[in-house]
Symmetry: C2
Subunit: 250 residues, 2 copies
């Protein structure tokens, strides 16, 4: 006897959930994927199968599947079908924030120092990265991350001052009650750029390497007009960075 058909497994859960039909479909599929019953690559029931099998309209099934696509649970291809998505190992969020988590996972100490924080106006490239006009007010910040006492990453942030209002470098001490906004970029395909670059003299000094040693550079494209931070990361070379081997693999 073959394994339970996907549409039947889906219906079994669908029948025991309360709420709107589209949410019941979505939750059922999320559970099947989370529980590992549906592995990455599995072909999901088509919308037409859900119409017959679950007794919903195609638009209801379509809405559920679209939400699952946005959530990264499934991938859809017109003409082919819907498939359980590969787990995204390195998300945009991950890229933004958590070198600390990597270091932590290896039982090392993590430490980050703010090297520089200046108020300035956007260059053409910075403007493009942030999705603002050239010469728009920005902040530039440089943060150096350490693993134990070894510098491992130099992060340069460009911050949209318009969306981080009330700030001026001189005012930073005074206006402690204000805050700025930081949003995640959506986790979409093609959002990463990874290059091998040679560090500048300053960068090499901070990372305690030579200028002839190529570093991995990671950029994240901003989500037009929605982010206020565009970060570029320069990774110190060496086997400490096996962890980043999958960057850009997709």
């Amino acid at each position: 006897m073959a394994a339970v058909k996907p549409i039947e497994a889906l219906k079994a859960l669908f029948d025991h959930i309360e709420g709107p039909a589209y949410a019941r479909i979505r939750q059922s599929i999320e559970q099947l994927v989370a529980d590992g019953e549906w592995q990455a690559g599995l072909t999901l029931p088509s919308e037409a199968e859900m119409v017959d099998g679950l007794g919903v309209s195609r638009m209801t099934a379509n809405r559920a599947m679209r939400e699952l696509t946005e959530a990264g649970v499934v991938e859809r291809h017109r003409g082919r079908g819907t498939f359980v998505a590969e787990q995204k190992v390195l998300s945009a969020l991950y890229e933004v924030h958590d070198i600390a988590a990597e270091v932590l996972a290896r039982g090392k100490q993590h430490h980050a120092d703010v090297i520089e924080l200046v108020s300035a106006h956007a260059t053409a490239e910075e403007a493009m990265r942030l999705g603002v006009m050239t010469h728009a007010p920005i902040f530039r910040s440089t943060v150096l991350h350490y693993e134990d006492s070894l510098p491992i990453q130099l992060e340069q942030r460009i911050i949209n001052a318009k969306l981080a209002p009330q700030y001026d470098q001189q005012d930073l001490q005074k206006h402690t009650a204000h805050r700025y906004l930081m949003k995640a970029a959506p986790m979409t395909e093609g959002e990463h750029l990874v290059e091998a670059v040679l560090p500048s003299t300053e960068e090499a000094t901070l990372l305690q390497i030579g200028t002839e040693q190529p570093c991995m550079q990671i950029r994240r494209r901003t989500w037009a007009n929605k982010d206020i931070v565009s970060a570029t990361r320069l990774l110190s070379p060496g086997n400490r960075f096996e962890l980043f081997g999958r960057f850009g693999a997709n």
Copy 2:
């Protein structure tokens, strides 16, 4: 003469965008909000107005508005209408990662130490937070954040070991080539819990405060079965944390 009606401003942009109708509506509104022409609180055209003014069906307008709701650009209330949302100052992402950014914005040094990292099995509460079974394998980590040299936050992470496979505390040094997954929770209403709690003896010691001093505690509900990390943060009391005054305001 009054200002341009929202529906007219919307149509002006809508007419000059390529692509599917729902995306043209969404992009137009995103631009109007991003440019500041539509301020927080403004009442957007109703779906019926878009049907008349843009020549689309109500379901197309509904889809655009639903996506904007999910993106946090607008808020919708049945019977009342659609309004430009307040900028979310502290998003779920923010909550997850970036106390460093707060500190940075005030020109202070940021520093974080890993106090503890242990492999264990989930208690009932931990299991609920992570959306796993009780006794499921997890990691517990404790990270102490400093502003300059002052401890300001104690972060306790519960990490789903199933989704962070190949890890074992003893193996951490060996298996440096593996990595684990960290995803953002969606930024939705009601995802935050903020409480005033008294610190335990250990927590008070780490934060260099007395056990009688109430601290803000911040938790993030996990997104069922999708996150591998559930973080609880204990904030040191005092005026350094005006920044967090808006937590839970909604």
